[in-house]
Amino acid sequence: MIRRILSLALVLAVPVAAHAQVERLSGRLPEPTRAAVVAIVDSARAEGLPTDPLVNRALEGASKGAEGARIVAVVRSLADRLRDARTALGASATEAELVAGAAALRVGATPAFLARLRRESPREPLVVPLAVMADLVARGVPADTAATSVLALVRSGVRDADLVAFRENVERDIALGAGGGAAASVRAGDVAAVGVPVLNNPKTGTTPTPPTPRKP
């Protein structure tokens, strides 16, 4: 009985949520663009993909004054990457993981990297490792080096905070003139081999603690 009630509530809630998402697009996009985006969103929903990121990307384009065709192309491309991320990370991947995975794929990570990351850390959320990989590429680290570094760190069992500290140290090295690839490789080697980042956390000025297994 309870199961029936919950199922009924879910059945009623999904169209309401979908309608709310589509409503967010109303008035922000010209009608042809809105219709095309809604079609992509509906298709993604039918596949079980998260749709909020698609709506947000369309709204971003609208806010930035992008042309309708560009907005539709970007939203469609994001839907494709979300689909690829789910294939690589598995059906149990969370929305946040899929968003981070799509960003990693966008900057050059391969689906094989995502799948490998999942195998190395099957029960841990991968939002931060995937985001750090994308952020490193944004700072000038080659995609393959960023992927290799993050994979090595995850395999060594570091925490999310250690991954963020690693990224910050690489950013600082690059700002001081180091090459992105070299900085990432050296820092990742330091963390994985020694267990602690070589330099202090530039933001806190504190000596980082030895990494511990990524646990809740």
């Binding site: 709506v55 947000n56 969370t94 841990e124 959320p125 750090v132 944004a138 963020v164």
Partner: protein, 197 residues
């Protein structure tokens, strides 16, 4: 009818009955020990209490209220259980805050002394240019605290209502498809992993 002989007999019998009986030493203890041994154990008494039929008188309103309370308890239990079974919910306490952990408050900061207004636009507010105005502190410092669930968010500062400005302390978004400065903040559930903290 009875005579004096009968009264004498009755008196003798009564006297005999009134005379204390001498028991053996320890007799009382032995009797009490036997009584205790025959008393039912606590589980047996509890079982008897539980299984003994009882009759209750309930008004229709009372019965309805009881049923509603039980239904609420069952639904709460089902919801709590389904929440624990969600994939990724284990460390989700750390990384899946939307369902498990409280949102992390991220402080966004921009130094813009000449700006007359600064707002925050991003994935968390539908990229609305005016929805999240930032507060001017001192010396052109603009700040805003935003609670965010775990995830990766793209955002930018909107200066004077029209100009998008990236966060100089945060990683840039490589996946910036619209040709405007965009930054990224990643929230792990325990602390912001972007550049705004």
């Amino acid at each position: 009818m009875h005579g004096p002989a009968d009264d004498s007999l009755i008196a003798r019998v009564a006297e005999e009955l009134r005379r204390p009986v001498a028991a053996r030493p320890g007799f009382d203890e032995r009797v009490m020990a036997a009584v205790r041994a025959e008393a039912p154990s606590l589980p047996a008494r509890a079982w008897t209490w539980l299984t003994e039929p009882r009759s209750f008188v309930v008004t229709p309103l009372g019965g309805l209220a009881t049923a509603a309370g039980l239904a609420a308890l069952v639904i709460a239990g089902v919801v709590a259980t389904s929440g624990r079974e969600r994939p990724g919910a284990a460390r989700g306490a750390a990384l899946q805050p939307a369902a498990v952990a409280a949102p992390t408050v991220v402080t966004f900061v921009l130094v813009a002394p000449r700006a007359t207004s600064v707002a925050l636009a991003g994935d968390f507010d539908g990229w609305d240019r005016v929805k999240l105005p930032m507060r001017r502190a001192s010396a052109g410092l603009w700040t805003l605290d935003v609670p965010l669930a775990a995830g990766r968010y793209r955002y930018a500062f909107v200066v004077d209502g029209r100009r998008f400005v990236a966060d100089p302390t945060a990683p840039p978004a490589v996946d910036d498809d619209f040709g405007q400065p965009t930054s990224v903040v990643t929230v792990s559930g325990r602390a912001a992993a972007g550049g705004s903290l």
